[in-house]
Amino acid sequence: MRTLKLLGNFLICLAVASVVVFAVVNLLPGDIAGVILGPNASPESVAALRERMGLDEPLVMRYVTWMGTLLSGHVPRSALSGAPVGADIAGRFAVTGWLVFFGMGVAICLALPMGAWAALNRHRPSGWLVSGFAQFGMAIPAFMVGICLTIIFGVKLRWFPANGYVEASTSVTGWLSHLVLPSITLGAVQGAILVRYVRSAFVDVLRTDWFRTARSVGWRRWAAVWRHGLRNTALQLVTVVGLQVGSLFAGAIVVESVFAIRGIGTYLLQNVSNRDLPVVSTIVLMLVALVLVVNLLVDLSYGFIDPRLRNRRRLGR
């Protein structure tokens, strides 16, 4: 029953989001005709091209055609080259997907130990040091981190390629080595934010009565955190991680432009500047849908992690 309600919510949100996306995207001034005809465009030729491309139809009509193509399962063609862009979008989503995946991996592997350490030692200098470091990490803009890493590791030490991207199919090592610096940049910034949430999640758990009970039956501090703290913080962490996916994709746009990775971010920026509206609105809708899907998965995972919800379903109460 609960899953059905969540699914319903998800679909309504998606529908409303699609209308909002289409409206905002169509606000973009200047249009594709100007782009195609380029600097030597004359008003008459632009008008003629607009007419031929059906750009003068009312907004609602264009929304209906756009949604029509989407709902019927295939991706609208690029208005610029007329070529189908389904494969392009999918390819680029995969690139950014991997960047976000590794970025989140770095963030979690950074934040969990640091957050737990900062929580357990919150009254000791070592604890302040860690949270101070996280505070500082949050304050540095992602592109600054990116530039520094590129210069130090990419250009000076040449441990890793400064930027660019290699498909996994061509060479796995090339693919991995190209992703190291960008995912560390993305992961470091998001990790710093995550540390604060992990710390406060663990502090909440440390202040609960059941943690005190665990301590009173003989568990050492770290063991009690591992046995009883972890699962209870998982609930809060899954929520935060879910919420962060949105900001991760936004961060990816910046990281992609610093590291010249042909992910969905740079592709989107490029299409926005080409005013290729069908492609832009499709990509934006996909990004929004992805965040909504992640939120849905997070809600569903609650039942998994927290038996209180799980058993309610089992007992049918």
Binding site: S78, A234, V238, A260, T266, N271
Partner: protein, 529 residues
């Protein structure tokens, strides 16, 4: 990278239980944590080691060229944008005649050509063995079909149609000879068909030329990821002396600094045009060679002659005097690129150095402004989002303020909004743009152009030059037009965009100048690695 599975309850249970050997006081904590840490370290190590190694047997090189813009379509005749010709002209698509590195017209698909005395009839002898990559022969029918398409197909860009206006008829004398009849002599027609207007396409590829270009050049298209990379590979069945390279990849870098960084870290072999010249110092070590040539991109401070203040000659001249163009170029473009006085590049046959016409003289500027009777002048400087524009705009606004002209700057996103606002709606006073088209002085003779500039004297001398019987007369008339434009302060010609090519030291055969829109790689070579 092994990461903590904190999302599924069951998994966490099993992880805890499996590791739980239940010896007291939390030792279980240590064994599981040890395993996690070990796994992570080994994962990171494998990544670091593989990144540095990786050697393979020596093979022909696939050179990677960094470019700053990427095409939205691959058909140079129906979509504008320098990026298309940069990659495809001469490399994939060939023309009857070609512009070489020094700006001269040399034979290509036409091994020789002759012009009738009155200059209205051109006869081209085609290369007999020339074939398209698809194997079809490049015969007179194919040539005429391509040229005729420019005239007939409505989708073709109006500017190219205008270049083919002089053509009255084309006849295939025999399989290898084409005779073109013009309705009046035109000195620029031959130069025009050496570029986009004259590309010879494989006849049966006209339909989907936008995504699958079929030409007769030394390279053919292997793969195109829109907005990012164009990968060309060697055309093994090329009719002429083919290339020694395995292929060329044109990779787009939106951010000039990212392109420089990629070159420095060995990702790129060639940078087609360094958009951030102040960073050239990074390539000073022996690993790189820097080629400083000229291009045909004149960076101008364009005036909208329809706006009241700028229709006044004295105001335009005052602005020209108020700007120290040498200091502007030195600080905005690190001193690279030649100073020019009119819409002419040194590689144009009728070039005269007019850069001294308006020396930096704020006092004279104030004097002219006072004479013009226009006070507290406020002009809108609407610039495109291109690397040279913001720096130049800031510089110019500050120097105009010195002489009492306030310029408000706003940045229009290029190409979409800038083209719409400046080119189509003409809703601007001044803008800063570089005109990369070669020999584009003719635009000053076209009152319909976005400058709204209508000077009959200029129009007459350029028209006369076009029909002048001898090239010498043509050059004299064109030079006269250029002088008229400069005297009339039709625009302020800031500097000529330099062509800064950076290559790794082992790459040879890359031209320094950018005389045509093409990045000609037909003669490029590099030792196998």
């Amino acid at each position: 990278m092994l990461c903590l599975h904190s999302s599924t309850g069951a998994l966490v249970d099993r992880a805890l239980d499996s590791g739980a050997t239940y010896n007291p006081y939390g030792r279980i904590m240590r064994t599981t944590a040890a395993r996690v840490v070990a796994a992570t370290i080994s994962a990171v190590l494998t990544v670091v080691l593989t990144a540095c190694g990786g050697t393979s047997a020596p093979a022909d090189r696939q050179l990677v060229v960094g470019v700053s813009t990427s095409p939205s379509s691959l058909d140079p005749t129906t979509a504008d944008g320098a990026a298309i010709s940069q990659a495809l002209l001469y490399n994939v698509y060939e023309t009857l005649v070609k512009i070489n590195d020094t700006g001269d017209i040399v034979p290509l698909l036409a091994k020789e050509w002759s012009v009738s005395p009155d200059g209205t009839s051109y006869t081209f002898e085609l290369q007999p063995r020339a074939t398209f990559a698809s194997g079809a022969p490049v015969d007179s029918h194919a040539v005429i079909a391509s040229l005729q398409r420019i005239i007939d197909d409505p989708a073709v860009l109006p500017i190219l149609k205008k270049k083919m206006e002089p053509v009255s008829s084309m006849t295939a004398v025999d399989a290898d000879t084409v005779q073109v009849q013009l309705n009046q002599p035109s000195n620029s027609w031959l130069f025009d068909i050496a570029e986009r207007a004259g590309i010879i396409m494989d006849p049966n590829s006209h339909a989907n030329a936008a995504s699958q270009p079929q030409g007769s050049g030394p390279f053919r298209l292997d793969n195109w990821t829109q907005g990012d990379e164009i990968k060309l590979v060697r055309n093994s069945s090329y009719w002429g002396t083919g290339t020694k390279l395995a292929g060329i990849t044109f990779r787009k870098y939106a951010d000039p600094n990212a392109m420089n960084a990629a070159m420095l870290s060995g990702e790129l072999d060639i940078i087609s045009n360094v958009a951030a010249p102040e960073a050239l110092s990074q390539f000073s070590d022996k690993r790189f060679t820097v080629l400083e040539g000229t291009s045909t991109g004149e960076i101008i401070l364009a005036y909208n002659h329809a706006s009241p203040a700028l229709s006044n000659l004295q105001v335009r001249q005052a602005i020209n005097y108020a700007i120290d163009r040498k200091a502007l170029r030195d600080s905005v473009w690190a001193g690279k690129g030649e100073l020019i006085g009119s819409m002419v590049a040194p590689t144009d046959p009728w070039y005269q150095d007019l850069s001294g016409e308006y020396p930096y003289d704020p006092a004279k500027a104030r004097e002219l402004l006072a004479a013009s009777g226009i006070t507290d002048l406020n002009l809108r400087l609407r610039i495109p989002t291109l690397p040279y524009a913001p720096g130049a705009a800031s510089y110019i606004t500050s120097q105009l303020a010195e002489v009492g002209i306030t310029a408000t700057v706003d940045q229009l996103e290029f190409p979409a909004t800038w083209v719409q606002t400046v080119m189509v709606e003409r809703n601007y006073d001044m803008t800063i743009i570089s005109h990369t088209e070669s020999r584009d002085i003719a635009n000053f003779a076209n009152p319909g152009y976005y400058w709204n500039y209508n000077n009959t004297a200029v129009q007459e001398s350029i028209a006369a030059a076009n029909v002048a019987p001898t090239t010498a007369e043509r050059d004299q008339l064109m030079a006269q037009a250029a002088k008229l434009i400069s005297d009339d302060a039709a625009a302020d010609f800031l500097w000529l965009l330099p062509n800064l090519v950076v290559t790794t030291s082992d790459v040879t055969g890359v031209g320094a100048n950018a005389v045509s829109l093409s990045f000609d790689m037909t003669a490029a070579a590099a030792p196998p690695k």
